[in-house]
């Protein structure tokens, strides 16, 4: 694959993580007083879902090395511990590569469940490693629902971009 294609894919993943950070910074509880006592439950994984889409859509082009370097760059750019995104990007890349034929015959609902579950696992590991005191199953449940809702828009949006530019 050309360097520009890799750059394009990385830009979409980077944009996803950037949106994640924006959403995380936007604390709705400071705007609505009624929600002030509620715990923070909004945890999106747009960047991770976008990476999943690209591996799912073009597995022959995104191999382990590509996922590894995407993870390294994301770790560097967003200030997370070096290795975290590398590990999960490589892991999810392997899983998707192994089950890519099965995913092709999956329905949208099954895809939603799988990728929402993957992203929830990603979120859970992130909280367990970096912020275990804020870890909660309610957060994971909300994250699962949010990521499930996000998968189809990401899927169609990225497919449109892939057909236009790659």
């Amino acid at each position: 694959m050309k360097f520009t294609s890799h750059l394009f894919i990385f830009v979409t993943i980077f944009s996803g993580f950037w949106l994640d950070s924006l959403i995380a910074e936007f604390n709705i509880r400071s705007y609505i007083l009624a929600l002030e006592s509620f715990p923070y439950l909004v945890e999106t994984s747009l960047g991770f879902l976008i990476l999943c889409y690209w591996i799912y859509a073009i597995p022959e082009k995104i191999q382990s090395s590509a996922a590894f370097f995407y993870g390294l760059l994301i770790d560097l750019c967003f200030g997370s511990a070096i290795g975290f995104n590398m590990l999960f990007f490589s892991g999810i890349s392997y899983v998707i590569h192994v089950y890519v034929f099965r995913f092709r015959i999956f329905s949208y609902l099954q895809l939603i469940i799988f990728f929402a579950g993957s992203s929830t696992f990603y979120v859970a590991c992130k909280y367990l490693i970096f912020s275990p005191e804020n870890y909660s199953y309610l957060l994971l449940l909300c994250s699962f629902l949010i990521n499930a809702l996000l998968w189809l828009p990401i899927y169609f949006c990225m497919r449109s971009l892939r057909r236009s530019f790659l």
């Binding site: 590894f68 070096i82 290795g83 975290f84």
Partner: protein, 276 residues
């Protein structure tokens, strides 16, 4: 969708990648091994953000300064236009005042020149400057928009002297034949000498041909030339110019060149005596 889907995924690379990632993660989480690198990258990011913010703020400052300058320029132009308008109004008022004064003065002078009070002050319509400067025909047209009943052969005055007489009236125009027109003859009196001054075809110049008992020595240069009133058109005793030069034509004849006082080029309004 992918055209060629991998049918075999070698696990070794992924295992290796995962091991390296795990090792890196462990070393970073436990020992902060990559903290300087991460901090450097974050510092670069923050620096870039600050840099772009500075550039953006400066651009906005320049833009606002440019906008202020544009506003000031627009205001300046507006004020300049207003000032110009005020100047124009003042000028027009001044000119209007001057014209009114001219007309009043001219009417007063018409009365001095013998007008019984029916004299009209009319504005110039056209003047053939080319003919006036070169040729024999010296004609001036005045406007008569209100169609005053102006007779022909009426004296036309400017300042305190005459410059010609009405020769035709048609439509709203009045034709004035100037003294300097070669077809015009004006009876004048110079130091007791009566002669008929004919237009010379040159601006402000008429000539008398004198013959008989008068001698050239009887007339002095710069002597005043007055109307004699013998033509029945102009009242007598009005100064119209001065003797410019005297020159002999033959033994018994000499020519007197008279420079006229009235200059039609200096005026826009002309008075026409009536009833004289």
């Amino acid at each position: 969708m992918a055209r060629t889907t991998p049918i075999h995924t070698p696990a070794l690379k992924y295992i290796l990648a995962c091991l390296v990632s795990t090792a890196l993660l462990f070393s970073d989480v436990s020992y902060q091994a990559f903290s300087p690198l991460r901090d450097s990258v974050q510092a670069i990011g923050i620096y870039s953000q600050l840099f772009f913010e500075t550039i953006t703020s400066r651009l906005l400052e320049y833009s606002s300064a440019y906008e202020d300058q544009r506003t000031l320029t627009r205001l300046n132009n507006q004020l300049r236009d207003e000032l110009q308008e005020i100047d124009d109004k003042l000028f027009l008022e001044e000119q209007s005042h001057l014209i009114t004064n001219d007309i009043i003065n001219l009417q007063d002078r018409l009365q001095i020149l013998g007008d019984p009070g029916e004299g009209k002050v009319l504005k110039i319509a056209s003047f053939s400057l080319q003919d006036y400067l070169c040729c024999s025909q010296h004609i001036l047209h005045l406007q008569n928009p209100l169609q005053f009943p102006i007779l022909i052969h009426q004296p036309v005055a400017v300042d305190e002297t005459f410059i010609g007489q009405t020769s035709k009236t048609y439509l709203n125009l009045i034709e004035i034949t100037l003294f300097s027109d070669t077809s015009h003859v004006l009876p004048v009196k110079i130091d007791g000498l009566h002669c008929n001054a004919r237009g010379a075809g040159k601006p402000r110049l008429v000539r008398c041909i004198v013959a008989g008992e008068f001698k050239m020595s009887d007339i002095q240069e710069a002597s005043l030339v007055m109307t004699s009133g013998l033509g029945g058109v102009f009242p007598k005793g009005v100064i119209i110019g001065k003797v410019l030069s005297i020159s002999a034509i033959s033994i018994n004849e000499f020519r007197v060149d008279i420079a006229l006082d009235g200059n039609p080029l200096d005026h826009n309004y002309f008075g026409i005596l009536s009833g004289s």
